[in-house]
């Protein structure tokens, strides 16, 4: 029986200690949780908004000593709106950390984040900085300059000139898609690993690009999460469970599911919908 224990999966109630507005649509929330504070970059947690929903969120930052953890949340629907409306002192529920996290490779790393997808990559950049990796370049993309987040933090972590931005409306950085900018960065310089998180069409292009350049790459995927422990089956891509075998997949794994990756996913009722 003692075998029966996924300690991380136990529900813990905790209070919001800090909530900060990051952009018109993104807020960060900080709270105490010992288990999640041990997470690796790329892992996620399930956050319960009492009476509303429970949603997967990547871990954006941790303070290991104090047992604190932060998530960056984009307001897109009911649950994220309800969370945005919550204040310091309000109770939430947490379980996790779940999933595998990014794999550290030596040498030079390229991080490509789209929208709030930059959150787990910011955590990754922080850890890479500690690991004294030779060089980390970050490409961030958003529709418009106001939605570019964590730029200052990333510049502090990776060096001012290593953070490149692309906006669709050209209001900040290069005009265009993050994936296009990525391609030009990779053309100029050889990296040892590419890490990406963001809208799946973007990550798919980044992965294709990495493949063409023969560079190791990992992408963080999103699928419907319910159990987060690998049994309900709502998050599968091919034979993989995103919650358990992912959410980080490497280039070879993604090649094996190329008919699904960036193409279709399952909806809440299990129907296939195009991405």
């Amino acid at each position: 029986m003692s075998a029966w224990l996924i300690a991380a999966n136990k529900h813990r109630a905790t209070r919001i200690l800090d909530a900060e507005v990051i952009s018109p649509t993104v807020k960060t929330f900080t709270f105490k949780d010992k288990l999640c504070a041990k997470a690796k970059p790329g892992q996620f947690l399930m956050l319960w908004i009492p009476g509303v929903d429970e949603i997967p969120l990547s871990i954006y930052d941790v303070n290991r000593e104090k047992g604190l953890i932060s998530v960056a949340v984009k307001r897109v629907g009911e649950a994220t709106k309800a969370l945005h409306d919550m204040k310091t002192g309000d109770w939430i529920g947490v379980r996790g950390p779940f999933g595998n996290g990014f794999t550290f490779k030596g040498g030079k790393a390229l991080l490509v984040g789209g929208g709030v997808g930059i959150a787990p990559l910011t955590f990754l950049a922080k850890e890479l900085a500690v690991q004294k990796i030779s060089r980390t370049v970050v490409v961030v993309g958003a529709k418009t300059g106001k939605e570019l987040i964590f730029l200052d933090k990333l510049k502090r972590l990776c060096g001012e000139k290593n953070v490149l931005a692309a906006t669709e409306d050209g209001s900040y950085g290069v005009k265009g898609l993050a994936s296009t900018l990525t391609e030009s960065v990779m053309t100029k310089e050889k990296f040892d690993a590419v890490y990406t998180c963001g809208p799946e069409p973007m990550t798919r292009v980044v992965l294709d690009c990495a493949e063409r350049f023969g560079v190791y790459a990992e992408a963080s995927l999103e699928r419907i999460m319910r159990c987060a422990i690998g049994i309900c089956g709502s998050c599968t891509i091919g034979g993989y469970r995103v919650c358990r075998d992912g959410p980080i997949f490497n280039i070879n794994q993604l090649k094996s599911v190329k008919n699904e990756f960036g193409v279709w996913k399952r909806d809440f009722n299990g129907r296939r919908i195009p991405i």
Binding site: M1, A3, W4, I6, N9, K10, H11, A13, M46, W48, P50, G51, V52, D53, E54, I55, W91, G93, R95, M225, R226, C227, A228, I229, G230, I231, C232, G233, S234, T236, G238, G239, Y240, R241, R244, R266, D267, F268, N269, G270, R271, R272
Partner: protein, 306 residues
């Protein structure tokens, strides 16, 4: 693991081992089912599917408790018309029997869905008449012997594949229900589905599951499930498929001694991944060898003889 000792015939299905994936566990897609089968499962059961698409309940749908999980997923499924695609894809890659789990809000619905599932290639049907958290299907049907008999008869009349009936432990006398199902034509009984339960968060003073109540699975319910199998074995003569808290080969053997011809594994997949099937199958095989049994069939119901 491909041992003669482990083979079983289950209501006409040939299983390479007396283990099956329980319904609702990874049971949407062909690849995950295949993965489970390659780990040694003798058969796989799909997620329960109904006539129309259902999104299930809002999260939280699963909550972890002392010795198991409580879930109220709410039977999310794409509906049988869409799901036939998944059944076909699964059949194309699976080397083991595929059992389609079916639910309905009326005997008619059960029948239509079962027919379509069999048409799409399902090797057997498991009637989920025991879901504890969706009103008017599941347990409401499995708690009433007359309603249940009607469902079983309708489905049996419509399909020529074996029909399993999956029962709820949330009744006063499960063997009475099993008998009703068998009299109506059930080819096998699966016991048990989850036990009605709930968990409340003391800080927010709220039930955690969005549906409030859910079904308890995992090690907590194993002794209940073993008792149900033991009770049913005394009452009916069709094969019983034990389910509830199987986490080790010892658990599987315990179910078989109680009277199960095979076991289903659900929650334990969360713990050990699909490779749980490998270790359970190996363990059973070693047990049989050590004890000098030539076939796993010899241990079915042995606890009744002592």
């Amino acid at each position: 693991m491909n041992s003669e000792r482990l083979k079983v015939e289950l209501a006409g299905l040939s299983l390479v081992s007396p283990t099956m994936l329980a319904s609702g566990i990874l049971g949407y897609s062909a690849e995950t089912l295949k993965n489970v089968a390659e780990n040694g499962a003798g058969a796989v059961v799909t997620k329960s599917v109904g006539l129309k698409p259902r999104s299930g309940y809002a999260n939280p749908t699963v909550v972890h408790v002392a010795c198991g999980l409580i879930n109220a997923v709410g039977l999310p499924n794409p509906g049988i018309d869409e799901f036939t695609r998944d059944i076909k894809e699964a059949k194309a890659v699976l080397k083991v029997p595929l059992v389609a789990s079916v639910y309905g809000f009326s005997a008619e619905e059960y029948m239509v869905v079962a027919e379509k599932a069999v048409e799409a290639g399902a090797d057997a049907i498991e009637l989920n008449v025991s879901c504890p958290h969706v009103k008017e299907t599941g347990a409401e049907i499995g708690q009433n012997p007359n309603v249940l008999a009607e469902v079983v008869r309708k489905v049996k009349g419509a399909v020529d594949k074996p029909v399993f009936v999956k029962l709820s432990p949330n009744v006063a006398d499960i063997s009475e229900i099993a008998e009703a199902a068998v009299k109506a034509g059930a080819d096998a009984i699966t016991a048990i589905n989850t036990v009605k339960a709930m968990a409340i968060d003391i800080e927010t003073t709220r039930p955690i599951l969005s549906n409030k109540r859910g079904g308890l699975s995992g090690p907590a319910i194993k002794p209940i499930a073993v008792r149900c199998v033991y009770d049913i074995y005394e009452r009916v003569r069709v094969p019983i498929i034990g389910c509830g808290g199987v986490t080790s080969w010892q658990d599987a053997v315990e179910f078989m001694l109680a009277g199960a011809s095979a076991v289903q594994i659900g929650t334990a997949v969360a713990l050990k991944g699909p490779s749980i099937f490998r270790s359970v199958v190996r363990g059973i095989d070693a047990y049989l060898r050590k004890k000098g049994f030539r076939s796993v069939k010899e241990i079915v119901g042995l606890a009744h003889r002592s």
